[in-house]
Amino acid sequence: MELTFWTYEGPPHVGAIRIANSMQGVHLLLHSPQGDTYADLLFTMIERNNHRPPVTYTTFQARDLGGSTAELVTDTLRKTVARFKPSLLMVGDSCTAEIIQDQPGALAEGAGLDIPVVPLEMLAYARKENWGASETFYSLVRALLVRQAPPAGAQRPERPEGKRPSVNLLGPSSLGFRCRDDIIEVRKLFDTIGVDINVTAPLGASPQDLMRIPEADANVCLYPEVADAACSWLQRTFKQPTIKTVPIGVGATADFLQEVADTLQLDISPQTADAVCRLPWYSRSVDSTYLTGKRVFIFADATHAIAAARIARDEMGFEVVGLGTFSREQARDVRAVAKEYGLEALITDNYAEVEKAATELQPEMLLGTQMERHIAKKLGIGCVVISTPAHVQDFPARYSPQMGFEGANVIFDTWVHPLMMGLEEHLLAMFREDFEFNDNATPSHLACVGGTGHRPEQDSVANGVAVWDSDAEKELKKIPFFVRGKARRNTEQYAAERGVASINVETLYEAKAHYSR
């Protein structure tokens, strides 16, 4: 058993529903008890879909156990196909059904339906939502394309002279973070370099579209959490190269275009010079100088965590003090990136561990998920959601990509939003004792949204640390709250390393000088 306060991912079958809901003409039959139907609200309330997801649940009950559940499956199968007339049916079971082993996939395959049936194995007690999405997408792609596979060892024919190059965009899915807008932005990138999009999948694709995947010159693995398995299989089977750079951030977008150019043997420099991206100038504008060295802690899915680290350091000028992910399947990539930043990656799906790490690191901002909002609230610091799991607000009405050049603009605005601005910081530092200043001052542009009053004085880092004398406590309070936690931590660490039992004003300033950089 694993104690779980909040979970970063749903169960694998939710990943399967995401794939079904992404596509046209695909229906999922899910063997599951009634409670599992809550999954509908993820789509209709969080993503504000105007239709129920294409899922039929068997909703078996206690009294059905030990006899009639298999019958319920075949009965539901018949009704579902008759009512929804899908062009493809996927069949799987959720955690509880997995235990009772009715094998609904096998039942469906044996039912003599006149549409393709794809059985899913969801491993509910070992895997999670993104794996479920990936496995489902891979199963679909494989099921539909395996018969087209060229003989082993066959070479992929050259692209005919004069034919425009084309790619597939693989990975965008329902409930994915900003997928809806990312694919528009990525399409714009390809438009500017004269590359066609052959198939975008699963989002918006039909089974017939999936059948056309091999026609493209390459696959763009936009979201590795969902598309990596399928891309690998396509590369092995159809010799389609995979473009792996995820174009989030200015630098990554440039690298992405370069990888595309290299893969498709294009010359792209003249066109991309026209691209308009404001992040570089906004970040270099003098009012952004205060961003330099802001300590950020990043915890997200692997794709967005890796992208965020690069943007944070190289494009915003932050200091990345922590980097982690709940995506165990991509842990190796995140570990490798973390190393480049001189960090050890935090790989966990345990919310409590993330909370502990964030508390110890005392960052000035979290870049995370819906979960990190809890942590940020406890710590009284800013937070930006950069990845699923996300809330309804993270499925905005306006165009809000993360990828490409407009994505970088969106990221600049969003990341800067919760921070105090430079001159504002200075004024707070200068006039801390003005009775009309408020210690818990929210950034002025956020002032009007009200406050939590909930900015706890952070506890000391460890037990048994030095005691603060009253003058030192008073002096500490003169430091603006947004750097006070760090000052406290540094001072205590300084005292601890020197065996100082009581912290006075001198200790505070000694530590300040010691840690100056």
Binding site: M1, T7, Q34, G35, Y57, T59, A62, C95, T96, I99
Partner: protein
């Protein structure tokens, strides 16, 4: 009694030919009740023993609650738990210790079973007893089922309180006392307490209490008034411990609240004049506030999809006080005994459906085209997109709607979607 999710087979009055459906359901499981229970009992912690699905369900349904520290968690079963490679007792002990370490102020831990824990026959009753002994009184352990193969949505609270009933102290007093049973919003509880005091009814105790140590005693002088229409098993458990159930409608609207209070007043022998002088002013307020909403609601047709078991009392309120017309009333479970006070107030020929066959039921809604359909969160937006106005049922559970001074708010919950439609007009674009 461990009634199946569906269908008590008790006889029913011929006036209400309750249709039963046994097809696909779209409802929450009983774990969902934890969303309000964990906030109501402020020193309790709810530990679900289940799968990742259970954890995901609760946080999805309670997704907005991130402004408060949760007092619930899930012990997520792993492959090795299922394969029997891990000892369930050891695992539970470890997890319970983790909870207590993080939340040392907790006084009661509910061990809540789920679909998978029940299918693998994990015995949480035993575990609760063993853990109770380990923590020797410092922390109480109570087990109940919130599983979706046994319970629907509000039935989670029923099972929770039923289980808690066994631990209630015995009331050996020879004086009558009133137990109000069912989670109420704090502000409503306070209002009822004031009214009972003015009526001279007392002592009054609320179950569940806001703290573990304040749970009410029960005995043969306990008179039981249900504040929520989904507590059949709890009521029967309390009756088994000597309590006497006062049949009454539920306190929705001016009429429902008056009748509900009257049931207690009658038992306590409160003179009619006292009852009148205490309730006249708030009742008039309630009637006025409801009348304002009735302008919008009168003549409008409403249907309910099965969800919270609040459906029947709400339908009664909307029909009698707000002059709405009733379409199909779906309810996940129809409990004759605890609806005894409501049934006489319902109109002839009402179509009540117990259980569900989702797609067929949606077809009936489409055919009937009610002005308003009360349904779960998963279904509301799809119906809206088809041009039907809906009321999101979970709001009915989370809003203070009981009692006189909330009667207008209750009606307002149904008015709002209609007013919004009127204000925004027909949709343009998209």
């Amino acid at each position: 009694m461990t009634g199946a999710v569906l269908a008590s087979d008790t006889a029913r009055q011929a006036r209400f030919p309750v249709q039963q459906e046994r097809g696909q359901r779209a409802v929450f499981c009983g774990l969902t009740s934890i969303i309000w229970l964990h906030r109501k009992i402020q020193d309790a912690f709810f530990l679900v023993v289940g799968s990742r699905t259970c954890a995901h369900l609760i946080q999805s349904a309670a997704g907005v609650m991130i402004f408060a520290e949760p007092r619930f968690a899930t012990a997520v079963l792993q492959d090795k738990d299922l394969a029997g490679l891990a000892d369930a007792n050891e695992e539970l002990d470890r997890v319970a210790a983790q909870v207590i370490a993080r939340r040392p102020e907790i006084r009661t831990i509910f061990l809540v079973s789920s679909c998978p824990s029940e299918v693998i026959k994990l015995d949480l009753g035993n575990a609760a007893q063993r853990l109770g002994e380990i923590y020797g009184g410092r922390v109480k352990f109570v087990d109940y089922s919130g599983s979706g193969i046994e319970t629907t949505f509000t039935q989670g609270e029923d099972r929770c309180l039923e289980s808690l009933t066994a631990q209630l102290p015995a009331d050996t007093s020879d004086k009558l006392s009133l137990m109000v049973c069912g989670t109420l919003p704090d502000v409503v509880e306070d209002q009822f307490a004031r009214i009972f005091e003015q009526l001279g009814i007392g002592p009054v105790r609320f179950f569940p209490a806001r703290n573990s140590d304040d749970m009410p005693p029960v005995g043969s002088n306990t008179r039981l008034l249900l504040a929520q229409p989904y507590l059949g098993d709890t009521a029967r458990a309390l009756i088994n411990r000597g309590a006497q159930l006062l049949a009454a409608p539920y306190p929705y609207g001016a009429e429902g609240t008056s009748a509900w209070l009257q049931a207690a007043a009658t038992e306590w022998g409160i003179p009619a004049s006292t009852f009148e002088s205490v309730t006249a002013a708030p009742r008039a307020r309630a009637e006025h506030a409801v009348a304002v909403q009735t302008r919008t609601l009168a003549g409008k047709r409403i249907s309910f999809l099965p969800d919270s078991q609040l459906e029947i009392p709400l339908a009664r309120f909307l029909q009698r006080e707000c002059q709405m017309e009733l379409g199909e009333i779906g309810t996940p479970f129809f409990d004759q005994q605890i609806l005894a006070g409501e049934l006489p107030l319902l109109p002839e020929g009402l179509r009540i459906t117990e259980g569900q066959e989702l797609d067929d039921q949606l077809d009936r809604v489409r055919q009937l085209q009610p002005d308003l359909t009360v349904c779960g969160m998963g279904i509301a937006n799809p119906l809206e997109a088809e041009g039907l106005r809906t009321k999101w049922s979970i709001e009915l559970v989370f809003t203070p709607v009981q009692g006189y001074d909330q009667a207008g708010d209750l009606a307002g919950l149904f008015t709002r979607p209609l007013l919004r439609k009127a204000q925004l007009g027909a949709q343009i674009w998209n």
